[in-house]
């Protein structure tokens, strides 16, 4: 058995904390990018690119395998064991449910003749991704 430093439990807790921090940072940067998009729609592509990059970061922490090349394949398998995969699936289900609810709300607005602002779609994407990250962080940090 390879030597662990830190232990899998510490890595799991750190992963939860970093995912939580990244979700917070992604929320802040999404807010800034979407505000700028609403204020300067002519530079929309640049703001949307920044928005997408910041949203990708928490998703990497949710669905990526921590540790990079520092640890062996066996250690990576323990860090992403079936409990973690179940937690990733739970987080993905929550994110998908949020996305579907927001799409439903958007569709309802369309039926009611309410015009959605330009920032509505990216804001819905941010909510779905940040929701996914928050659920995963909560599951990782929860003391079972």
């Amino acid at each position: 058995m390879p030597r662990w430093f830190p232990s899998p439990e510490e890595v799991s807790a750190r992963r939860g904390r970093v995912t939580l921090l990244n979700a917070g940072a992604a929320a802040c940067f999404s807010w800034v990018a979407i505000s700028n998009l609403a204020a300067n729609p002519e530079r929309g592509a640049a703001y949307l690119l920044l928005w997408a990059i910041w949203l990708a970061v928490p998703l990497i922490w949710v669905f990526g395998i921590p540790g990079g090349r520092r640890w062996s394949a066996k250690q990576h398998a323990i860090l992403n064991d079936e409990l973690v995969r179940a937690q990733q699936a739970t987080a993905a289900r929550a994110g998908l449910a949020l996305a579907l609810a927001l799409i439903g709300a958007g569709a309802a607005c369309g039926f009611l003749g309410i015009a959605l602002p330009v920032w509505a779609a990216p804001a819905a994407g941010s909510i779905a991704v940040i929701g996914t990250a928050l659920v995963f962080a909560w599951l990782q940090l929860r003391d079972d």
Partner: protein
């Protein structure tokens, strides 16, 4: 809500193993063993078989369905 009764803790204690030692034997984290023992997480067939093999027992001795569901 749990839909599986786990006797893992009793069998593990009987075998004189800690959660960490059992986790190392089956190749999962200690938290996974803890969640299975507490009924928070229902293990896959593969993990259940590995747990049974590591404890020298059968899957049926480790887990059972709640009364009325079998």
């Amino acid at each position: 809500m749990t839909d599986l009764l786990a006797h893992l803790k009793a069998k593990r204690t009987e075998a004189g193993l800690t959660q960490g030692e059992l986790a190392e034997r089956v190749g999962v984290s200690r938290k996974t063993i803890n969640t299975v023992e507490n009924g928070v997480f229902v293990p896959s067939t593969v993990l259940a078989l590995k747990l049974a093999a590591a404890l020298g027992t059968t899957v049926e001795a480790l887990f059972e369905l709640p009364p009325g569901e079998g």
